[in-house]
Symmetry: C2
Subunit: 206 residues, 2 copies
DNA sequence: TATTTAAAGTTGACAATGTTAACATATAAT
DNA sequence: ATTATATGTTAACATTGTCAACTTTAAATA
């Protein structure tokens, strides 16, 4: 606010405000609601002001997506109780992940969306989420659980991917309305997690 | 072809050709590549000809999505060997599902996409995929497996949803490039399926 | 069969969107 | 103090989906 009133021409920190305002717009109206006119109107600049900070709308959205991933990672891991049993840790990570998706469906859809195909072709390395800090935290928990003889000593990387698949799939099905057990989301998650840990097969102590 | 050459003005079966041509366009270039100009150019009509068959582009895409779902269901279940062991049946269903997503990433993204928000608000019943025939076939296999003492006698509907979550999540992660174990897709699926069936926990015969 | 009616297709225009080029202004550097 | 650079503005453009008015063919009715 002060930056705006001080100098009416130069905005001050337009780049960051473009990102944060875009974040607000996605969360409330979805990615399609981010139009350059509306976005710059909200910040009191002209429609093309953002081209001094981003090469295109695409690049802006890219940074919004990165900010969104950071919000997800923070939400999932920052509130994690470090004294917990390792199985409970995995449980709470999963629960927080689903919670985030349900609370921020539009943002979740955007960060995992595919509208960034072109840029993905170029920066082919940076886009694999496996390199994300959040994913590695999950892998670490799984390794700990393996060492504590809680989980099978398989490839921890793959086990983490399996868990992530489950969380990602459940999140998408829920926020896109393909599953209408809305009042039973908790039950559905608990069964999913239980399945992840112990499977759905009869326990024949093989 | 004959319909076109016979009467140059009236197209004949424009509606169905619009849908099938749109299907081709999604598969090759993604949903964003379906532009009314390009679509109608391919069929040799004017840009607005489709408004005699669909109320909007949105409605056309809706029907394309429905056709896409039918393709998915057919692919997953039509080649299923009915003599198979029930666990193998589940395995093959899952494998076919992933295969379809990998072979038709753009189509898969479209049918599970969210660009149909407005219409979904109205036809709130029809859009839950749980009502789809494919999902019910999966539930039936699971019920059979329960009766054969292969699976735990939990809620079959939920078990099917858990399996679907895993498949959907894995499909999305793979086709969106979040997992770069491209040469190990089979291994990843096998571990996922094994996890679904027997979990990742140590077998302590609890 | 002749005439009317409805269905299907076309044309031209419109508003909204992202983008660019040319210009304007403020800040930083010399 | 002057120059150079960063930042912001304005006007225009092509592309998109959509609509209104018109044309042409097929169907219905007399």
């Amino acid at each position: 606010m002060n930056a705006k009133t001080n100098s009416s021409y130069h905005h001050g920190n337009l780049k960051e405000e473009l990102i944060s305002e875009s974040l607000k717009m996605v969360e409330s109206g979805g990615i399609a609601s981010i139009t350059l006119r509306e976005l710059t109107n909200r910040l009191g600049t002209s429609r093309t002001a953002l081209y001094r900070h981003f090469v295109s709308k695409e690049e802006l959205l890219q940074e919004v997506i990165q900010a969104g991933f950071e919000k997800l990672d923070t939400y999932v891991f920052s509130t994690l109780d470090s004294d917990l049993d390792l199985t409970l840790k995995l449980h709470d990570v999963g629960k927080a992940y689903i919670d985030f998706a349900i609370k921020n469906p539009n943002l979740y859809r955007m960060i995992f969306g595919h509208e960034l195909k072109e840029q993905r072709e170029e920066n082919c390395d940076i886009n694999e989420r496996e390199d994300a800090p959040g994913f590695h935290k999950l892998v670490d928990i799984i390794i700990d659980a393996q060492n504590a003889n809680i989980l099978k000593k398989d490839d921890a990387f793959m086990q983490a991917t399996v868990m992530w698949s489950m969380l990602h799939g459940l999140s998408n099905l829920l926020i896109d309305g393909h599953v209408h057990i809305v009042d039973n989301i908790d039950t559905l998650f608990e069964l999913s997690f239980k399945t992840l840990i112990s499977g759905i097969a009869l326990d024949l102590s093989e």
